[in-house]
Assembly symmetry: C2
Homo-oligomer: 454 residues x 2
């Protein structure tokens, strides 16, 4: 049998990882990227964009056989450092002792995976090849080089790993039977920067994700290895305050002073950046099916772009790759079975993390919360510590429990909500929350609801 | 003040009605249609496509001041004529005595509205002008005439009334902040025909909507004034049986004989038509917002294409026009207020009828239903007759109660479901359904739930 060929469109982290997995399964892979090679040209212009990677991401990399070199360059964040309006900072742990989410340089992990791909004899990577067309019957694809030249390739199969704005997906929209949606969030974002101190150290606590939660908007900061922090300001597109309403320099200055006074001391020219930059939209993408004619598939953000509020986007994309990796072996390279099995396994989970990521803006931007919300969290934390087999908080299921699929985490989380609503309806609960009878009642309800999960 | 101008893209029933409404409010309207004028060229090739119009549609036409001439050419259908697998026909009334939905020729009502538009001095209609571009900042639009010529127009405002495949909407998808979805149904459809009898009369009962409900698929027939019926076969795109699985002529013949034996006697060459035609997909479209920069709006199917299972598509589009007609007066031509008010008023209703139309396939294709379903319907009918102020069946709210918005009908329908679930959980209900205690219990629950609606 001749060696079968794959075209992978998009050499981001997911496309690179997918290519490595396919190559190691014996496929000849052409990995195509529209942009230049960031290892050779400084396309990021010195900007560090970072993302959160957690247990699902690391586990998926391991499953595909990527050693955890990337983890050595990642910064563990053990808690949220919550900056209140007066500059008071409170540490809220992410999970139990030692649990961390990791701040990873997007370009860094991408380049590490591209280096590994370069070492695979079965992979050839082409940069500055922009996908322009796909034949969904045959997987034939056309790429444009520069403004003029067009190159046609005819692989056996093609994967679109070309991100939230996926060209492969947008071409698929016109196929009969293709359902798709794009949901724009009310918030937009801009990125800001906290430079390193003169000695190269971090100006803010290094091993934390910093949040300035202000309910309708928030600022966050993730540490980079070079001593800087990459910050993101999430703010409504319209309304008051919003990117639309804040047009005067003086108003922007006043907005930062009123809401982020302590951050103003360390941010690099935030008012200038706010005035200069165009806020980027946040959107979710869903599409069905994820594959066409058993020839062309979608993976990562191309199949399921989500919003960043749960820090799970890349984790979810890497899980796609790990699932596919396992299915290739399980179905012995029969793509008529692999494509549908891949979608059956992953689509419900992608839908679930999409829903969870949307909901989490409220949780994240209102961390101080009202009294009742804080009481509820305290009861849950206490109960979970005593009866871990009955109760893992939703955040921990999503972030630290890679064996629990996202869809399962969502389902259990909703059942936990229903239980906690009954607890919070107990008279006097905000005073009595630490009393034994509350734990007893919760034990009763939780056993009834989750007792068979053991 | 100079006369303000509107471009309306799409001269279907909704675009034509909208143009009449705008013209009567004093706007100068250019009504543009990509296809030829059906009154001059036989673009329908003798085919009668009919649609269901009911109280919402008629009421909306009246509100805009269109006399009910169309109703004289429509055929009232007082009940569903349900054809079971043995050819037995049962009449299931749509509502109370005299309640009817109306079979209307799509081209007929369109041409009547175009004739009325022609009589309006403020409207100029252009056929064979295909929209190619819209500037959403200025409402400037470009149309193509034939293959070469392009015409640019610069109105004050533009409405996309260009149907489910709306070009205006698809251009809007790329605007920042535009959310949109397209949901494809598992079913596709083809149209079939029952010719008139030799004396010009109807071969089937005229004043009925005929249904051959077969659970996963169904055939329906609506009467035309010329003695024919237009039939639609709804069948899954894939699976068994499906348009995909039925590829052999003999299999198609066997499928019709097994499922539609009595229809086979009167259908015109159904097997030929099945073999020749490509099944058309059914899909729903949602988009947000419905207007852009207070310059360009969407209306009718362009804003909210739904599936045909509730017979409400054109009713909903006509309601859009009537709402807008009222808002122009209410907000005295201030489109910065009219556009948002129109969307606030209509979007929740469009979303509700979209949901209801999806759900109704199950109801319609399984009319015989299981015993429990039939018992439930009987209890509801009996209760509704005795206590009409407490209970109007969902179908009647949607179809015969134009004063109840779709969103309200959906909400009440869901609450009725919850009540009926409790009734159907009573032990022995399938035997006891006609007993007084069932009415008493339902009265108690309904009063509790809906008692404040009076």
């Amino acid at each position: 049998m001749t060696q079968r060929t794959f075209t992978v469109a998009g050499a981001g982290p997911v496309g690179s990882l997918l290519s490595i997995s396919l190559a190691r399964h014996g496929y000849r892979v052409g990995l195509y990227e529209g942009r230049p090679d960031s290892r050779k040209t400084n396309i990021y212009q010195g900007k560090s964009i970072n993302i959160a990677l957690s247990d699902r991401g690391w586990t998926s990399l391991e499953k595909i056989g990527i050693c955890a070199e990337a983890k050595n360059r990642a910064i563990p964040m053990y808690h949220r450092a919550v900056h209140d309006i007066d500059g008071e900072v409170t540490a809220l742990p992410y999970g139990r002792e030692g649990d961390a989410i990791w701040s990873v340089s997007r370009s860094g992990i991408n380049e590490q995976l591209l280096d590994i791909a370069d070492d695979e004899a079965n992979i050839t990577t082409y940069f500055e090849h922009r996908l322009v067309d796909v034949d969904f019957e045959t997987a034939k694809a056309s790429f444009r080089l520069g403004d003029e030249d067009e190159l046609a390739v005819q692989p056996d199969y093609l994967f679109g790993a070309d991100g939230a704005h996926s060209k492969v997906r947008r071409l698929a929209h016109d196929l009969p039977g293709c359902s798709h949606s794009q949901t724009v969030m009310p918030q937009c974002y801009i990125e800001l920067n906290v430079p390193a101190d003169s000695d190269g150290s971090h100006k803010l606590e290094k091993n934390a994700l910093h949040i300035w939660p202000r309910k309708d908007f928030m600022l966050i900061a993730l540490p980079n290895t070079d001593g800087t922090f990459t910050c993101t300001l999430f703010l409504n597109a319209s309304g008051d305050p919003s990117f639309e309403s804040l047009t005067e320099r003086s108003a922007v200055q006043a907005f930062f002073e009123a809401n982020f006074a302590d951050a103003l001391d360390c941010l690099e020219r935030p008012i200038d950046v706010f005035m200069e930059k165009t806020a980027a939209p946040l959107f979710l993408v869903q599409v069905s099916p994820w594959s066409f004619n058993d020839k062309v598939g979608l993976i990562g953000d191309a199949a399921h772009a989500i919003v960043p509020f749960y820090g799970q986007g890349m984790n979810c994309g890497f899980e796609d790759c790990a699932e596919l990796d396992a299915l290739i072996a399980e179905h012995d390279h029969d793509w008529r079975r692999i494509f549908p099995a891949y979608e059956r396994a992953r689509k419900p989970n992608a839908d679930a993390i999409a829903e969870l990521s949307k909901r989490n803006f409220v949780e994240m931007s209102d961390l101080s919360g009202d009294r009742e919300f804080r009481v509820r969290k305290k009861i849950e934390a206490k109960f979970s510590e005593r009866f871990p087999e009955l109760w893992t908080p939703l955040y921990s299921m999503v972030t630290f429990s890679p064996d629990v699929p996202y869809s399962e985490a969502l389902r259990i989380g909703d059942a936990q909500d229903a239980v906690m609503e009954r607890i919070m309806a107990l008279p006097g609960i905000t005073e009595d929350w630490d009393e034994q009878y509350v734990m007893d009642r919760l034990f009763g309800l939780a056993s009834e609801t989750f007792g068979d999960r053991k």
